[in-house]
């Protein structure tokens, strides 16, 4: 039976960074991922990583921008760590082999990004994520970290309130296997598959969030769901924020740069939430391009296909070849568009959860031995709205810290082995699933209903009425999910069980998102309530904490950590 000091679940930036740190600290580490690490969705993070490297810049300025963009819901102690330690962590990435784009002197070049007061984003053309992912994997190989590629974690092994490993399905054989460990680090990424449209990969299904939640670790600020303002119409494929950083305009169907009415100073460089609401408002007012698809088609929903445009036509073509090569390629391949000549139809799509598993600044959850980091976790740096370029930084800084902390924890923790009965329980459950006779619902039909509900009612604009409908819908879907059958669970590469469990993970976490959003009676950052359009610091300058109960999440609140930046009046 495999037994390790530290088992990291997830092979994106956060997971690999944690594994590298834990291994470097002397722990015996294994990394488990449902896809090969090189196929992780971190590769889709095109834009870059923020660090106050500029001569004129300071970590305090970076921290201030982060906190303002987060609408003061950020925990400022964590933000200070992010912005201070992040500088050295980005340099470490360069030392590992990341090929950050350079300026004329051969130093790391910095790009201006939305809502940042100075150029601060280190980038690699428009494919930073793809490059950093490769370099972290190179380091994983260099350090000889053992990997379990294409193993799907089905549950955590918790005994006496302590995490002692995980149970996973080895996809190549279909067998359930225990992975014993003194510490587990969850780094499973996002949850975009529960929204449509979404920028996420097929694999972003809230797995780690749900595993921790059901095991008793609280989730924090789950109502904060960030949309990306510019994604390819109908597909949700991100057109990187670097596009606007390079000077692309947002225009409506009349060719007007409409951001002038919403953020006259920053224009296209306004924070993401502001841009998203502006685009939705333009579309609602009839100034977007209307759907050309008409009223039918399976995925057609109200406004789903309506869009505004990104205009690159005034930019220097040569510079675009240097800065935006991948963007050009995907616009051409996915939409048949030459961005140098044509307008690019874009619409907001769900991008990234800002909340997640509650962790401290060392990545520790409330369960001893269980750590979490990256997109599935919430250390509190992003507040209510994440600054572009801060997500990679979050995963690198807190990934390292979590790996270090997990290694330290294992040194003081005796080897434990959870009882065999937990594995037997799982096996029995799978047999029951396979024996079930199902109705007409499929994993796919339920997921689509969930995703459309979440987008329509728990998306950019929310209201009490819509959120109540969403709660009922999610509860109904959970009921129907409990009767879905899977034809067979075992055998080589049978995706039936993992797809079924992924949907269950998404339904559990959707319940938390909707309940948290309904409870927060104000508008802050990514959470916009049409019935409570103002930020309300007197009542709501606090984090939502959701804990698992079998029926519905139980909600509580905790104060925001404020060190030196007092909330200013909402703008």
């Amino acid at each position: 039976m495999p037994e390790h000091d530290v088992v990291v679940v997830g092979g994106g930036f956060a997971g690999m960074r944690a594994a590298i740190a834990a291994k470097s600290a002397g722990a015996e580490v294994a990394l488990v991922s449902k896809v090969h690490p090189l196929r992780s969705h971190s590769s889709g993070a095109h834009s870059g990583i923020n660090a106050a490297l500029g001569a004129e810049d300071s970590w305090q300025s970076h921290a201030h921008d982060t906190i303002v963009a987060g609408d003061y819901l950020s925990d400022q102690d964590a933000v200070e760590i992010l912005c201070q330690e992040g500088i050295q962590d980005v340099i470490r990435l360069e030392h590992m082999g990341v090929i950050f784009s350079r300026d004329g002197q051969g130093r790391i070049d910095l790009m201006p990004f939305a809502a940042s007061s100075r150029p601060r984003t280190c980038y690699v053309g428009d494919s930073a994520g793809h490059i950093i992912l490769q370099v972290l994997y190179e380091q994983l190989l260099r350090l000889q970290v053992q990997t379990y590629d294409e193993w799907f974690v089905t549950s955590l092994l918790i005994a006496d309130g302590v995490c002692q490993g995980a149970i996973a399905q080895e996809l190549s054989t279909g067998r359930l296997q225990p992975l014993y460990a003194r510490a587990v680090v969850l780094a499973t990424g996002g949850l975009g598959r529960m929204y449509q449209p979404s920028t996420s990969a097929y694999t972003s299904t809230a797995d780690g969030v749900a595993l921790a939640y059901r095991a008793g670790a609280p989730l924090v600020d789950m109502e904060m769901v960030q949309y990306h303002p510019t994604t390819l119409k109908g597909r949700g494929t991100v057109i990187t924020e670097a596009a606007r950083g390079e000077g692309a305009y947002l225009v409506n169907k009349d060719g007007d740069r409409f951001m002038a009415s919403y953020a006259p100073e920053r224009m296209e460089m306004a924070p993401r939430d502001v841009c998203c609401r502006a685009i939705e408002t333009e579309i609602a007012a009839g100034r977007g391009m209307e759907s050309v698809r008409g009223g039918q088609g399976r995925e057609r929903v109200e406004r789903h296909d309506d869009c505004v445009f990104l205009d690159f036509r005034h930019l220097d073509p040569q510079r675009m070849d240097d800065r935006l090569p991948e963007t050009q390629l995907l616009a051409k391949n996915l939409a048949g568009i030459d961005i140098k000549k044509d307008l690019v139809p874009v619409q907001p799509a769900m991008h990234r959860p800002i909340g997640g598993i509650q962790i401290n600044v060392d990545g520790a959850t409330d369960i001893p031995g269980l750590y979490a980091v990256g997109e599935c976790a919430c250390v509190g740096v992003h507040g209510a709205n994440r600054l572009g370029g801060n997500s990679l930084l979050d995963s690198i800084v807190f990934g390292r810290r979590a790996g270090d902390a997990a290694a330290t924890y294992t040194r003081a923790t005796p080897s434990q082995r959870a009882s065999q009965s937990l594995l037997e329980d799982q096996e029995r459950r799978v047999q029951e699933l396979a024996a079930r006779s199902g109705g007409k619902d499929t994993v796919g039909s339920l997921r689509l209903e969930l995703a459309l509900t979440m987008h329509q009612k728990v998306g950019i604009y929310r209201s009490r009425v819509g959120l109540r409908e969403a709660i009922e819908k999610v509860n109904e879907l959970k009921g129907r999910y409990a009767r879905v059958a899977i034809s067979s669970a075992g055998g080589a590469y049978n995706p039936s069980l993992s797809a079924f469990l992924e949907l269950g993970n998404m339904l559990d976490v959707a319940q938390v998102i909707v309940a948290s959003a309904l409870a927060r009676q104000e508008s802050r950052g990514a959470h916009y309530r049409t019935d409570f359009p103002q930020r309300d610091d007197a009542s709501w300058l606090k984090h939502t904490i959701a804990s698992y109960t079998p029926d519905r999440p139980s909600l509580a609140y905790k104060p925001v950590v404020i060190t030196q930046w007092q909330p200013s009046d909402p703008s």
Binding site: I99, S101, R293, G491
Partner: protein, 318 residues
């Protein structure tokens, strides 16, 4: 619109060989083939196994043979793949299939990737800040690292057809990534290793790799660059270097290849044992009318001066 998908199914537990299974899906023409496969799995057949993660062409995991062309499924639209009202989805040839559309990646792909030890190893202590690197070098590396490891270049490789242990263009391109990185210190050792059997000298320069690359990384040219580098720094077997230099020198001097000179110089003039080994071959060639005359008698071809000009121009520019 209803589209007929014929998808490769194979279960090692029950099947001797794979077969195509038919699914009919109501899908839009603008959807990608990967979208369609995902819907087939979610709505019709939960056991259908295939890879494909990011949906946008970055993860490199959905390489398939779609309507008889090797493609990336997430960058192939239904409209673009339709042939006579149907779309066939089959595995590429090179890699063994473990189930349906799942390849056994370890043997043909990841083991080769690891074999080139694709991480940089700095020779000196790291600087306090970043390394100073010209942006042109970064741009070249970025092009190479835009590789998604889709392995379409290996699929096109003609050497791979006869030698599956050949490292192949994908892994060699990854090797280029570390060797061309000025922060790496193991150039000599890496080039020596790549010069071994089944390494970079086994490429037969058919340019299929470059033809197949969906990211225009030009793997064939990367292999040439590695070889040039090895020659420049005297890495690998001296015989290989002699052969390379003699080939070039002969064509430069006479406008065509002097095979006798090539044979002699490859072995090395002072290598008596090596030269003797060539004798039977030379005699046989004589017997069969191929007559490898001593190279002093080799004649310049007409127009050789122009060829010499080309060489000199290239030498000046590189």
């Amino acid at each position: 619109m209803d589209v007929t998908f014929k998808v490769h199914r194979y279960d090692p537990a029950t099947d001797d060989e794979g077969q195509l299974q038919t699914y009919i899906l109501d899908t839009e023409e603008s959807a990608t083939v990967l979208d369609a496969l995902m819907r087939i799995r979610e709505e019709q057949d939960s056991t259908l196994a295939f890879r494909g993660t990011c949906r946008t062409g970055f993860c490199g995991d959905c390489t398939m043979r779609i309507s008889r062309r090797n493609r990336i499924a997430c960058h192939t639209t239904v409209a673009g793949a339709l042939r006579d009202g149907e779309i066939t989805v089959e595995p590429i040839d090179l890699i063994n299939v473990a189930k349906d559309m799942m390849y056994d990646m370890e043997a043909m792909v990841y083991s080769k990737y690891r074999a080139v030890e694709p991480w940089i190893e700095p020779g000196e202590p790291q600087p306090e800040r970043e390394h100073i690197v010209p942006n042109e070098v970064i741009q070249d590396l970025r092009k190479v690292m835009s590789c998604t490891m889709c392995w379409l270049c290996d699929e096109g490789c003609t050497t791979m057809v006869v030698d599956k242990t050949f490292l192949g263009p994908a892994a060699l391109t990854k090797a280029y990534r570390v060797i061309a990185d000025p922060r790496d210190s193991r150039t000599m050792e890496r080039l020596n290793k790549l010069s071994e059997a089944h390494g970079m000298w086994d490429c037969c320069h058919c340019f299929e790799a470059s033809e197949h690359c969906p990211k225009a990384i030009d793997p064939t040219e990367r292999i040439f660059a590695l070889r040039n580098r090895a020659i420049k720094v005297n890495a690998g077997s001296p015989k290989v270097r002699n052969h390379y230099r003699s080939f070039a020198a002969s064509v430069k001097a006479d406008g065509w290849l002097d095979e006798a000179r090539l044979a002699i110089e490859t072995e090395g003039l002072s290598n008596v044992k090596g030269q003797l080994k060539q004798l039977p071959l030379a005699l046989k060639a004589l017997q069969r009318g191929k007559r490898p005359m001593p190279y002093i008698l080799h004649k310049k071809r007409p127009g050789a001066d122009k060829i010499k000009d080309i060489f000199e121009k290239w030498e000046k520019s590189s």
